[in-house]
């Protein structure tokens, strides 16, 4: 097995390489796009601008230079901390990502915690009482939800709670016409409930299924048999042995699912018009705001890859055999 310092160093180098590769591919993709950045910038003013002015804009943005030069300049600026200017939000990209991510982080962070807690509890219950009514109910819930489009759940929630019942607001992160900094905490929570529910409902299903499988494995182990022989009740076993042993795998899955969490948040934010990073991604893509789109790509890659790296490290803690995947393969029957 690789020693830990080497593993960590190796992982960090790999993360850096992934980021460079993603930067390269993302830049190439943006360059490939038929969306002309100047047209996208001008929008409806397109008719008022002559070819000379277009040439001026192109020179100002460096678009008249070869692609290679453009890429190195962009990467250089990026490393120097200058992410560029977002035309869509008329603000520096770093600032847009900063404020938007904070808004999304509340949503994603809470959904992440709820998914973990409830998913884990449901998974333990289902696995410990395998075949019982709770298990059946939880299994149906988890399987059905795993196949449900996130945005449809969001639409349904909106239909029932905002339109029919009128309990929750229809959109956004605060009441319309109120400045973001003036929104009260109560209003904030009221606007957060539905997107949070949409994201958590799906996250819970995944963690529950995973924990259930782990729990069934634990219930068949020798130490559980021994505990049963000593007269421990099922609840006792579930809490003392099950929860402890299933916790780390569940946390691992949570870290490995940050990509799906962000994907879900993009869709949920679109349905609820929640002004987070997900909506910024969509806006950047639709308006052809290349600097913002590229920066978001790199930022989310960093976010998700870090989660994957933590998950890999946790796998090693849980099962040292994972340090050498080939060894596991060889050991399999």
């Amino acid at each position: 097995m690789q020693p830990w310092p080497r593993f960590i160093a190796f992982r960090i180098v790999r993360l850096a390489l992934v980021l460079i590769a993603v930067a390269l591919v993302a830049f190439a993709l943006a360059k490939m796009s038929p969306v002309d950045p100047i047209n996208a910038y001008l929008g409806p003013d397109i008719a008022k601008v002559g070819p000379e002015q277009r040439a001026l804009i192109a020179a100002e943005w460096g678009l008249d230079q070869p692609v290679g030069v453009q890429f190195t300049k962009w990467l250089g600026n990026l490393l120097a901390g200058d992410l560029g200017w977002s035309v869509t939000y008329n603000a520096p990209v770093a600032e847009v990502i900063g404020t938007r991510f904070r808004t999304s982080l509340v949503l994603m962070g809470l959904a992440w915690i709820f998914s973990g807690l409830f998913g884990f509890a449901l998974g333990i219950a289902a696995g410990a009482w395998q075949g019982g009514w709770a298990d059946r109910l939880i299994r149906v819930y988890a399987y059905v939800l795993a196949s449900t489009p996130t945005f449809w759940i969001a639409i349904l929630l909106l239909m029932v709670f905002s339109v029919s019942l009128g309990w929750t607001p229809v959109c956004c992160a605060g009441p319309v016409g109120v400045l973001p900094e003036d929104v009260t905490l109560v209003e904030r929570i009221r606007h957060l409930i539905l997107p949070l529910a949409a994201l958590s409902i799906l996250g819970i299903a995944q963690i529950a299924l995973h924990t259930r499988a782990k729990m069934i494995e634990i219930m068949r182990s020798d130490y559980v048999l021994y505990a049963q022989a000593q007269g421990a009740s099922r609840l006792d076993i579930a809490l003392r042995h099950g929860a402890r042993n299933a916790a780390l795998p569940a946390i691992t899955v949570l870290f490995a699912s940050l990509g799906e969490l962000f994907g879900g948040s993009v869709l949920a934010e679109q349905v609820f018009a929640y002004p987070g990073l997900g909506r910024a991604t969509i806006e950047a893509g639709i308006r052809g705001d290349v600097p913002l789109l590229l920066a978001i790509t790199l930022f989310t890659t960093l976010f998700v890859s870090t989660g994957n790296t933590i998950a890999d490290a946790l796998y090693r803690l849980v099962d040292p055999r994972m340090a050498d995947p080939d060894a596991v393969q060889g050991a399999a029957p």
């Binding site: 490939m32 996130t150 449809w152 990509g259 991604t281 639709i286 790509t297 890659t301 393969q329």
Partner: protein, 284 residues
């Protein structure tokens, strides 16, 4: 474990195989039914009828009608057929990519393995949806863009499975013998590895399908996917958003529910196939 307990488990397993087969067959039947119905529909559901705008569900229109008076049931079935076609193409391409990369990783030495493993890491390190948006943006949207985008984002998991499968085969006696006879790399890959991978590829394809369809619908819903003129489920649902606050619940409910049903069918087919092709499940 006592003999009786073991016997009980065997009976349950057998039962599981039968259930899996039945579930898979009914899933397949529903999916084929949707495709046939979409073919039979022809122009129904495309034609606008302004006398029947936004009707709630009734016997004549079980799923209601849309703002242009088109029957939502017909549009939903057509949308599902579009989703199925896009999903099938995207998932098939993805399986081809996964097989090629797995073969390269497992047989072309350490360097190739490292490159493939890096590609897997890089692809998994990006949120799928962001990569999908980026690719769709690069290709200017449309059906082809969606198929390519979904195909190049869904291969990593299957690549890992297939690679592990080939690694187990690599030192099998018949492979060694074949090599000693001077068979080329391509011959060994074609005659010894690929036939062995077919069940895994098939299961991988079917299990990839739901993801492909859901991502297609999501991308289309966000406005990066299929052309708005197509009756895709993502389009229907994004249209429904505009009439949601007016209380036209049927526009959003039924297309999503149908999509869910189709995805569940594929899960049933995939899991059924996996149970039926798994030698460990067939022993008892």
């Amino acid at each position: 474990m006592t003999l009786a307990a073991h016997h009980g488990e065997t009976a349950r397993r057998l039962n599981g195989r039968a259930t899996a087969a039945i579930l898979a067959a009914s899933g397949l039947a529903i999916v084929l039914g949707v495709l046939v119905a979409a073919g039979l529909l022809g122009q129904t559901g495309i034609r606008a009828d302004f006398a029947a705008r936004l009707l709630p569900p009734s016997l004549a229109h079980p799923f209601g009608t849309d703002p242009m008076g088109r029957d939502m049931l017909a549009r939903t079935i057509k949308g599902l057929a579009v989703s199925l076609k896009v999903g099938l193409l995207a998932a098939s391409f993805s399986v081809v990519i996964a097989t090629a990369l797995a073969l390269a990783a497992a047989t072309l030495g350490r360097g190739a393995d490292a490159v493939v493993s890096f590609l897997v890491d890089a692809t998994m390190g990006l949120p799928h949806l962001v990569l999908l948006i980026l690719i769709s943006f690069a290709l200017g949207g449309g059906t082809t863009a969606v198929i390519i985008a979904v195909a190049v984002t869904h291969w990593p998991r299957l690549t890992r499975i297939l690679r592990a499968e080939i690694l187990q085969l690599r030192h099998a006696e018949y492979v060694t013998v074949s090599r000693r006879f001077g068979r080329s790399w391509w011959f060994v890959a074609r005659h010894h590895f690929l036939p062995h991978l077919v069940p895994q590829m098939l299961v991988g394809l079917v299990l990839m399908f739901p993801h492909a369809i859901l991502h297609e619908a999501g991308l289309t819903f966000l406005g990066f996917g299929l052309e708005p003129s197509l009756p895709a489920i993502g389009i229907l649902l994004s249209e429904s958003m505009r009439y949601l606050t007016a209380g036209r619940w049927w526009l959003g409910l039924f297309p999503g529910l149908s999509l869910l049903l189709v995805v569940l069918c594929f899960d049933a087919i995939g899991n059924g196939l996996r149970t039926l092709t798994d030698p460990r499940a067939s022993q008892e």
